[in-house]
Amino acid sequence: MSGKISLILILGFSTIFTFYGLRMLESKNSSANNFYFYYNKSQANYSAISGIYLALTNINKISSSWEPSNPTFIGNARVYINLTFPSVGILRIRSIANFNGITDTVIVIAKQKSFSSYGNYYQQFNNVWAATADTFDGAFHTNDYVQCYGNPVFLGKVTTAKGIKLWDNKSFPEFHQGWKLESADPVQFDTSAMRLAAYSNGKVFTDTTKNNRDTNLKLTFLSDGNVKYQWKIGTGAWSPEVTTALSSLSPNGLIMVQKGNVYVQGNLNGQATIVATHKGSSSAGIVYIEKSITYAENPNINPNSDDFLGIVAERRVEIPFDNSRGDIDIHASIFSVAGGITVANYQNYSSAYKMNILGSVSGLKVEPTAKYVYNSTLKRYVPTNGYSYIQKYDRRFDLQAPPFFPKLKVFTPLSWYQGQVIIPNFE
């Protein structure tokens, strides 16, 4: 009797254990499956993102005509990469990754950024040092060391291919958004596309006598949308001054001087890019800013201002010596292929003035603009002669640029689309 009861008891509890055991096993399996699902989903997503970066690295660093060989294996994920170019300078990359049966898709639109989207972009610092009272706004990049003398201020993110170099132990630069190392992208651009655009719907000034002489152009922008201009070829006389609408002079905004120089000033109402090329002449390819050049609508006051100015000099941009000028305001995005912004004879100025730049500066090298001495009362270096470099980045250049302004060769992601919501399918 007691044996039967024992048997019944054992069978009963075995049944109960089996029931609960199976239930707990099912919970455990579902938890594990849930974890595996999230892991696989995440891996598929990361692999798809890796595919994007793989494509960008190959196009930017190896060859702009790189074609993916599909499928590509990233870890244990199978990745398919597809490239299209919806328009010039725009790249669309689609990366589809499959990891353990789960597929995720990432689509990126990348764009060749304009140099104007950097507050400052330099190939090298040379023998020049960023110094006290210099202020750099917007993203700052150099393919060299960032050389600091005293306490220059960098308001935007700083990237450098080599690092930071201080003049001495009295130098304390301020990096408001930090700095980091980043690979070098050379400061170069091809004028041929600009030349085509200038000839087709812009304005080109050149030696019409075909004697290979330098052409000089004076441009004064007016706040009513007009522009006054004069030009001369070689050592000849200046032409009579002509006043016309900017849109009539150059419908696409591009004004090019082939083998010559430009003298620019005024108050721009509209959009223009001025280009001075040298074509081998050592006295050409210079843009001179004799007096302030500003926008008719200041974007600091009206962020919807549609005035944009680009200045592209194949040699350099120069502020000519004028001891009576005082402070100078420059509203423009500046690109100087073989130099930077030069202040001629800066050490001969009787005082220190401000060069207020609203826009961006890109160039081969940083140029000296002022003379500095150490002030033992203030305990820092101060400018005494020439122009302090005070630059404020024009935020509109994050997404817009002056017409036909030079672009970087590299493609930078503009938008990321990861649109799939993958839900686990549990029984």
Binding site: F13, N34, I109, Q420
Partner: protein, 197 residues
């Protein structure tokens, strides 16, 4: 003889009783743990589904299918520790939509025993809000380019570069006075489409 039999019976009843009580206790524990882990599994599954939705939606902050329309300034209209309103091209048609994530009041879930659970809503433009899950915590933190926290509320054009999202999902009913929970946290879910300043 009779006395020893009585002792045997008493002894076996005593031992049998102890064994029975142990077995009953074991059964009770098994049942409790089974329900608890089942609840825990459900919380995890709910969390994973919710995290998938949050990841997708937050990754699209500032995104537009029309790359020329991508905004220069901030696309986060408003943000605090438990809600956020931002611009995003939700249906991929090139036009920005306003997306609003927020949690409801605890009183909306009076039918559950959990006093902390609330509904998480998502509203697109002026459409009626949709429930996307039930959470006990939906916490948002905002950071600038140097990873310094920006205190909420965040207003339009704040210098937000990164957002940290934290979710906590609990079971609606307790087992043995214990609510099973699952937590999910992500930093920088959203960085790719935000214009960095």
């Amino acid at each position: 003889m009779g006395f020893s039999t009585l002792i045997d019976i008493a002894g076996s009843m005593f031992i049998g009783g102890i064994i029975l009580l142990n077995l009953l206790n074991l059964n009770n524990n098994l049942a409790t743990n089974s329900f608890y882990y089942s609840n825990y599994k459900n919380s995890q599954v709910d969390l994973v589904i919710l995290a998938s939705v949050i990841e997708r939606d937050f990754n699209l902050i500032g995104y537009s299918a029309n790359y020329n329309a991508i905004k220069n300034d901030s696309t986060i209209i408003y943000g605090d520790s438990s809600s956020i309103r931002f611009l995003s091209d939700f249906n991929n048609d090139g036009n920005f939509d306003t997306v609003y994530f927020y949690i409801g009041n605890v009183n909306e879930l009076l039918n559950t025993t959990n006093p902390r659970d609330r509904l998480l809503y998502r509203r697109i433009n002026n459409n009626s809000p949709k429930i996307i899950g039930s959470v006990t915590e939906f916490k948002l933190s905002y950071f600038d380019g140097l990873m310094n926290e920006i205190h909420s509320p965040i207003i339009y054009n704040s210098n937000v570069n990164f957002i940290r999202v934290s979710l906590r999902v609990e079971s609606s009913f307790p087992v043995d006075d214990r609510y099973s929970d699952a937590i999910w946290k992500r930093m920088t879910v959203t960085t790719k489409n935000i214009v960095k300043k």
